[in-house]
Each structure stands twice: as C-alpha cells, then as structure tokens.
Amino acid sequence: MRRWIWLSVVAALAIAYPLLLSSPFQQRLGALVLLYAIAASAWNIVGGYAGQVSVGHVVFFGCGAYAAMGSYAKFGLSPLFGIPGGIVLAVGLAAVIGVPTLRLSGHYFSMATIAVAETMRLIVTNTEWLGAAVGLSGPTVPRNVFDLSFLSSLPYYYLFLAVLAITLAITWWMTNSRMGFYLRAIKDSERAARSLGAPASRTKLYAFMLSAALTSVAGALYAMMFGFVDPESGLGILISVKILIMAALGGAGLLFGPLVGAAILVPLEEISNSWLGGKGAGLTFVVYGAIIVLIARFQPGGLLSLFIRRGKPKTDTGAGHAP
C-alpha cells in the first residue's frame, strides 16, 4: 500500500517536473536525467540483477545511436526508423559477446566487455562508411515531427519518461518472474542454480540481450536529442562507466536505484560544470569526484539502500568453493 503511494508521488513529480521547473535548461536537465536513467536501468538488469558487471555497455548504446543517425545520414529516413535496427544489432551483438564471455567470472567478464567496446570504437573510428572519426549527424533542420528534432526539451522529456516507465516496468516484471529469481540464484551460486534446473548461461544471456536492447534504445534517443554521434560520444568507454556509476550510486539491483543515481549525478555534473567549468581549473571534476568518493565511502550499497531494509548479502563464503 505504502509502496503505491510512494510510486504515485514519484510518478506525479516526474510528470510535473518540466512544468514546475520550466526554463529550457532545466527541462533539458530533466530530459537528460531520464535518458541516463533509461540507460542505467537497462544496465541494471545485467549488472545489478544478474551480477555481471559489464563495463562495455556503451557498444549497445552505440548500436542504437549509430542506427538512428545512420538511418538518416545514409538513407535519409527518420532516425526513428533506426531504433528497431539498433535493437536488432545490439541484441545480435549481445549474443555474440555473451555466449563466450558470460561463462567468464567476475573481472574477466568486465574486461572482456571493455575489450569488445574498445574494439568496436576503434573499428568504427576507422570505418569511412560510418563517418569514421567525424561521426554522423542527424537532420539539422527537422523535416517533420518524425525527425524528432525539437527546439524545446519538453517533447524529449515526456518521450524519455515514457520509455523509462516501460524500461522499469520490464525490469519489475522480470525480477518478479522466474527469470529474476533465477538470476539472483545464479549470482549467489551458479552451480546450485544449475543443479536445480536453472539454465544459467541461457538466463544470463537473455538478461544480457534484454539489457542490450534497452540500452540501444537509450543510445538512439541520445543521438536524436543531440543530433550527432561520433565514436567518442557513442562508443567511448567513459559512457559505460558513467552508466555503471549511476546505477551503483543509486543502488544496483534495486528497481529505482539507477533513476536515483541519474537524478543525482546528471544535475551534479551539469550544474557543477556550469558553475565551475568556465574557470578552467578542473574544479568541476574535483567536486564531482569528491562527492562520488564520499558516497562510495559512506553508502557503499548505493544511496537507495539507505531507505531499503534488505540485508545485503555479505561475503560469507569460506565454504563456498566446493570440490
């Protein structure tokens, strides 16, 4: 009951935000928060729930971004048409990456995803057809509403809000389904989960593919909003890290964790940049870094874990490695 009250308050606030804080920059900030929340929530499926820390998620982001911009730059279509293509691309790529790497444990999986992401970035950087280092641009002057190129951030805001709602709904549905249970079990003991009939590799792969698909949508939306993608902004490792940091900061493995993380980090970054960036002394990042450090230091389980009373699984595995 209380959960529903909370949920409706959050939803109402989200819907009302751009009307309450209505300057273009504030609206854009709101839209960006939602955009990153989508990406971080998508990451959360595999990184938080399945416990597979992907540091290369930007490849899927890039799939979406490049598909959207590509459909305009290469075929003169609305970037919207790129979305399904980006999803197909991302899911396919997730399958190709996932089959060999998901059997790797912990750090190796993270490193493998970094390697894939960097490889993709380098390949795209050297591929003329994809704009190489120059990147691809979207329609500079919108031809019609389907070009999704608006002056105001308001349409973006509500579009992103809708996509975020869908992403969260999918995540929620997943965690309460067999798949979600299996993922948690696999995270604790893959061996035991398999002995009980949980198809570990397949379940993780599905989660990875689902996460990839949603991340690709986030990438496509991102590219449409900025009207541009290049290897750095579409496939740079920093975006992976940013997504991951947001989820971790809010609380990985919690439904609203990524949203909380995005709602804190995006404004923090933009506002500290606006206030301090022009001074050129790197103060933005000193502040930004210090705040992240403090949160990690005092709330290692993520900010949302402050409010959620759920025992975090402590390392208690002296006997965890069986013969």
């Binding site: 060999p100 380098l122 971790a248 450090v293 949160i295």
Partner: protein
C-alpha cells in the same frame, strides 16, 4: 629477418616491460586483494609528476626521483586505503568501482588544478641518451625502465609466493574472517598491499616520465593498458603481467609496423578476446 624488424621487436619488448611495470601494482590489488582500482592510471600519473617536481625543484634525475616517487605513492596508497578502500570493501564490488572512479577524477583534477593542463616533459637525455650497437638503438631511459620492471616483478613474485607476508596477504584477500582466526590483522595486510602496489606504480610512473610526456590526463591512456595487461596475464599473477606486458608490447610494435598503427589496438583486443575464449583464466591466472 630484416634489420628494422629486430629494432621493432626490441622496441616492443622494452615497451612491454614498461607495461608490465605499471601493471604489476594493479595485478596485486585487483587480482590478489580483489580490489578494483580504477584510479590506477592516475597513480602512474602522480608518480610522473613527483619525478618531474623532483627534477625541476632539486634538479635530481631518476636516482632521486624514482625512490621519492615510490615513497610518496606508497604513502598515498596507505592513506587511500585507510580513508576510502577499507570502507568500500564492505560494500559490493560496484562500490569499489564507484569509489576508485571518483578517486581517479579527484586525483587527476587536483593535479590539473595545481599544475595546469600543459604538457610537461623531462629533458631528453636525463638518463644518458641512447645506446647504439650494431645499428640497434636503445634508449637508456627505456632500458632502465625495462630492467627495473624485471626486478620489480621478480621481487613481487617472490614476495607473494615465497614469504609468509605474501601468504598472509593472500589469506586476507580470500577470507578476512578466517584470516583473523589465524591472528592476522586484515587492515595491516591490505594497507601493506596498497603500499606495495602504489609504490610500484609510482616507481613505474617516475621511470616512464623519463621518456614520455606528462599531463594530468595521461593516466587514462595508461590505465586501460594496465587493465588489459593484467587480464591477459591472469588476475593476481605477477609473472603473468610480465609475460602479458611483453607480449602486448611486441604485438603492438609488430602490428603497428606491419599492419598499421591504427589497427594495433584492435589486434591486441581481438587477441585478448580470442585468448579468453580458450583460456578464460588468462595466461597464468588460476580459476
């Protein structure tokens, strides 16, 4: 084999030794103590700046700069451990990424704030120029770094495998509670591990500074190399990091020369992925 090719391979080996040098600290804390350190590259950067400051303020070359950088970074390692790492270790692995990523930004931009964004460089001949024999040219500064790399990795390896200190550090990494039951104080061991790792990283930075440029963001480039080296070598394996470093150095050099430099990173990554497929624990890692 053509003569140039020999030079390419020798250059690659020296480069690889340097990779190994600045990766050994990472393999220690990441692979063994199970602490992800996203700020590793920035530790290298700090080592470079310490060496540079020593040079500009005191006119000291690597004889003074390298030990000082080791010392300063080792101290920093201990401070970082007690101020941050000890607490984030209580959380999930993600908290470590979060905390050390924040730390990376903090370090990078504190240096930026202090020194500005300009590229700095040590004088070219600070270690004694370039040796040329039989047409082969080897920079003294790189040779020095290579030799130190070998010594450091050997030392670290012996420390971890042959001494009780090493065995205690591994015990703490595996199970802190059980280690306590052995009368081992986890804090102390982890602080020592951080001191060693950060010290080795600082030393690496100081030696690299002799032939590389110095800039606050240099850690980003080097950090990624270290991550790949450590994973290829196998997490926690010091000799693995050495072999992987040399391998990557030579592969980069050869592919850079033969196929084209823009593909050399792709070659390394693809080889790495290919390798993981067949040997998921890395070259010398244990499962």
């Amino acid at each position: 084999m053509s003569f140039v090719l020999v030079q390419v391979i020798v250059g690659g080996l020296l480069l690889g030794a340097v990779y190994a040098l600045f990766s050994s600290g990472l393999t220690l804390v990441w692979g063994m103590m199970n602490i992800v350190n996203f700020a590793h590259g920035d530790f290298v950067m700090l080592g470079m700046y310490v060496a540079y400051v020593v040079y500009t303020l005191m006119g000291g070359g690597p004889i003074l700069g390298a030990p000082l950088a080791t010392l300063v970074l080792a101290t920093l390692g201990v401070v970082v451990y007690f101020a941050l790492i000890r607490d984030i270790m209580k959380g999930p692995m993600l908290a470590q990424i979060l905390g050390t990523f924040g730390l990376a930004l903090l370090l990078r931009y504190s240096v930026f704030w202090w020194f500005g964004a300009n590229f700095l460089s040590m004088p070219q001949d600070i270690v004694g120029g370039t040796y040329a024999f039989a047409g082969l040219r080897i920079e003294a500064s790189r040779l020095l770094a290579g030799v130190v790399a070998l010594l450091v990795t050997l030392g670290l390896h012996l420390l971890l495998t042959r001494t009780s200190l090493g065995s205690k550090m591994l015990a703490v990494a595996e199970d802190q509670t059980a280690a306590q039951l052995m009368g081992i104080r986890p804090d102390t061991m982890q602080a020592i591990a951080w001191a060693i790792a950060a010290g080795a990283t600082g030393l690496a930075g100081a030696l690299i500074a002799n032939f590389f440029y110095i800039v606050p963001t240099v850690g980003e480039t080097l950090g990624i190399v270290a991550f790949v080296t450590v994973s290829l070598g196998g997490f926690g394996s010091v000799p693995g990091a050495l072999v992987a470093g040399l391998l990557i150095g030579v592969i980069e050099s050869l592919s850079g020369y033969l196929i084209g430099a823009i593909y050399k990173d792709i070659v390394v990554y693809v080889l790495f992925l290919f390798f993981l497929w067949f040997r998921p624990q890395g070259l010398m890692g244990k499962m």
